[in-house]
């Protein structure tokens, strides 16, 4: 039983990192932009979020719980949003191909994260730890987390895990129930029509992409300060990059619906961590790598099924991946 709970808890934390990336990507894709720069954005967010938290707790004698959260989360969001701004300027204003810009941003962002991340690491070492920030990020809900199995399964996570669920609901409501969300979807489905209806396409794209990228950046800081035990290592950048591609996959897996991303991401987490827990659970040896391959294969299957079995509303935005130039009409 303890193994099962351990597995689920690990999967939820892992899944939440992926979920942040997926939510950011969904917002971006709803504006009609396929952002393959997600790994770069997440890595930048993680590195700077960590660096800020680390600097804060080393500069102050008695670091404050709330300030630590604000510093780490705020910096990560800002770093992500700025990385998103580069992507947005090149694709929405300069109308350059989205795939090319996205892949370049991944190269650039992972480089930025790794390069500036190493400044924090003391010379000669390969990693360093933000002890206080780690404590803040893994702090369980007092009282409730002690309620036996229920407490461990539901209340034993850091605040970022619950924030992810809240964000997923908020983003879903925003996209499906508000006028602004409807406008944003219109921009992704058909920018020319949206433009004709008086929607400021460029403004919507900038807002959606930058906010989306900021949310993706939060995934990075969650990765380092919670999932990674508050440790930034020279290899962290590559680890975040590999994980962030799962976010791009998750978007397809959940058919652009952030509510489904909640369980979808946990499922990815269960697949990813199966190798560590399944052997003791049922006595069957599972290959680490083959189990970790599963999320990608499932995504491919969903991608294929999506073209034959899914309803229209479950498809991606119609204008996804295409630049919109007003005078092309």
């Amino acid at each position: 039983m303890a193994t099962l709970i351990g597995w689920i808890v690990r999967a939820v934390v892992f899944g939440s990192v992926v979920m942040y990336g997926a939510m950011g990507e969904i917002l971006t894709e709803k504006a009609g932009h396929l952002n393959l720069g997600t790994p770069g954005i997440m890595c930048t967010g993680g590195a700077f979020g960590f660096a800020a938290a680390y600097a804060y707790e080393n500069a102050v004698d008695n670091p404050n719980f709330l300030v630590c959260i604000l510093v780490a989360v705020g910096t990560a969001f800002l770093a992500g949003a700025l990385a998103g701004l580069i992507y947005c300027f090149l694709t929405a204003t300069l109308l350059v191909n989205q795939n090319v810009v996205g892949l370049t941003l991944t190269i650039f962002g992972v480089g930025v994260g790794k390069f500036f991340g190493t400044y924090v690491i003391p010379e000669g070492a390969v990693s360093t730890k933000a002890v206080f920030a780690n404590k803040v990020f893994i702090a369980k809900i007092p009282g409730l987390s002690g309620l036996g199995i229920v407490g461990e399964l539901l209340f034993s996570y850091g605040f970022m895990i619950y924030l992810a669920i809240v964000l997923a609901i908020v983003v879903h409501l925003f996209l499906s129930r508000t006028r602004v969300g409807l406008n944003l979807r219109a921009v992704g489905e058909n920018p020319a029509t949206a433009d004709a209806a008086g929607i400021n396409v460029t403004k919507y794209k900038y807002c959606a992409i930058m906010i989306g990228s900021g949310i993706t950046g939060l995934g990075g800081v969650l990765y380092v300060l919670d999932y990674g035990n508050g440790t930034w290592a020279t290899a962290s950048g590559d680890a975040i990059e590999a994980l962030a591609w799962l976010s791009v996959a998750l978007v397809i897996f959940v058919r652009w619906n952030t509510l489904r991303a909640i369980w979808g991401s946990y499922l990815f987490g269960l697949c990813y961590w199966a190798y560590n827990y399944v052997p003791t659970l049922i006595g069957v040896n599972v290959s680490t790598e083959l189990a970790q391959m599963l999320p990608y294969i499932v995504t491919i299957v969903i991608l294929i099924l999506g073209c034959t079995h899914m309803k229209q509303e479950n498809q991606g935005p119609a204008y996804l991946g295409q630049s919109y130039f007003r005078e092309d009409r």
Binding site: N99, T104, F108
Partner: protein, 363 residues
């Protein structure tokens, strides 16, 4: 009263070559200025030293030069592989996986059939590398052709299937050791012999042939013409009696096979080992940008590949020389420069008209 916007963007019909080159040159100069500034503030060396270090790390001595040639050839090989697919407007983002698939098949044959006689071993290695890489290329193409499945995302996912598969064999072969090291250390079975005094020559020779062959394939053959028509408009292609499905699958097979050759040459001719982080080494992604920038022209690809490798190896060399300056800076430098070069496309394709005085009076 309606006012003309300050900046109005219009599409250009075309541009003289010198202007095109000028815009790109300006972009590269601006980017390099930023790079020099970046290096100056992080590593604390002057602009002159930066450039001379970069030059030294790329062309400085015969060892550096050999690496430069090998990595340029490798990047170019993958970019050349992507050219047919991109000309067909098929977003093959799966080169990383296709190279790994080719490398993995090579390594598997090396390990499990190492006792075959040499010529036969090479043949089996080569054919299985091409076959597995071709499968990696064909699979997304089949689903795209028959069902319209999005190829960008499909090929991206296939990368990670390949990466995990390589990791699987890597960990299996390394056992409890800390890293895999060379395959077939004792027997050296499956290592390509030296050609013209260097084992790198195999890849170089292959790339020279492929670059020329793909150039002619795309510009001078019926297949190449079909690819161009499918890329311009699938409907037109169908009306013209071109079998779009066949062309899609055939082109991706070629794309996969060339990636497979790259994987084979890397594993059998250079690394003698395999790893998900170095066999393709991210070049599968960089090559996408190279191929796109070159606009399917394999000749331009040579120049762009060399430039990217110059930035990469040059920056790594700065990192070797200056302590505290991390090698991952090469990614920042490549990213920075590519942002500028990619961004300059805008000024090549579009014209910016500022609001003139005359318009103001009319308004």
């Amino acid at each position: 009263m309606h006012k003309e916007p300050l900046i109005r963007v219009a599409k250009r019909d075309g541009m003289p070559l010198y202007q095109n080159i000028l815009i790109r040159a300006v972009a590269i100069v601006l980017a390099m200025l930023l790079v020099v500034l970046f290096v100056h503030f992080t590593a604390g060396i002057s602009a002159g030293t930066t450039i001379s270090y970069m030059w030294e790390g790329v062309f400085g001595n015969s060892i550096y030069l050999r690496d430069t040639v090998f990595y340029t050839a490798k990047l170019l090989c993958i970019a050349v592989a992507l050219a047919p697919a991109f000309k067909m407007r098929f977003w093959n983002c799966g080169a990383e996986g296709q190279v790994l698939a080719g490398g993995l098949a090579t390594a598997v044959v090396m390990v499990y059939c190492g006792n075959l006689p040499a010529p036969l071993l090479y043949l089996v290695m080569f054919i299985s590398a091409l076959a597995l890489a071709a499968i990696w290329g064909i699979l997304p193409a089949v689903f795209k052709a028959k069902m319209g499945v999005n190829e960008t995302l499909f090929t991206l996912m296939m990368n990670y299937v390949a990466i995990k598969l390589v990791d699987f064999f890597y960990n299996k072969w390394k056992g409890s050791a800390s890293s895999l090291g060379k395959l077939n250390k004792g027997t050296k079975a499956g290592y390509l012999p030296d050609l013209f005094g260097s084992e790198n020559s195999w890849l170089l020779l292959a790339v020279v042939i492929l670059t020329i062959a793909v150039y002619f394939y795309l510009s001078k053959t019926k297949h190449g013409y079909e690819i161009a028509v499918v890329g311009e408009s699938q409907r037109t292609a169908e009306y013209a009696g071109i079998n779009v499905k066949t062309v899609t699958i055939r082109t991706m097979m070629i794309s996969g096979i060339i990636c497979g050759i790259c994987g084979f040459m890397t594993v059998a001719g250079h690394d003698h080992s395999i790893s998900s982080s170095t066999t393709a080494g991210g070049y599968g992604f960089t090559a996408i940008i190279v191929a796109w920038l070159a606009k399917f022209n394999t000749g331009f690809m040579v120049l762009i590949s060399l430039f990217v490798i110059f930035l990469e190896r040059g920056t790594s060399h700065i990192a070797d020389k200056c302590s505290g300056f991390d090698a991952s800076a090469s990614k920042i430098v490549i990213g920075l420069v590519l942002f500028f070069v990619i961004g300059s496309e805008f000024f090549i394709n579009y014209k910016i008209n500022l609001r003139s005085k005359h318009d103001k009076e009319v308004a």
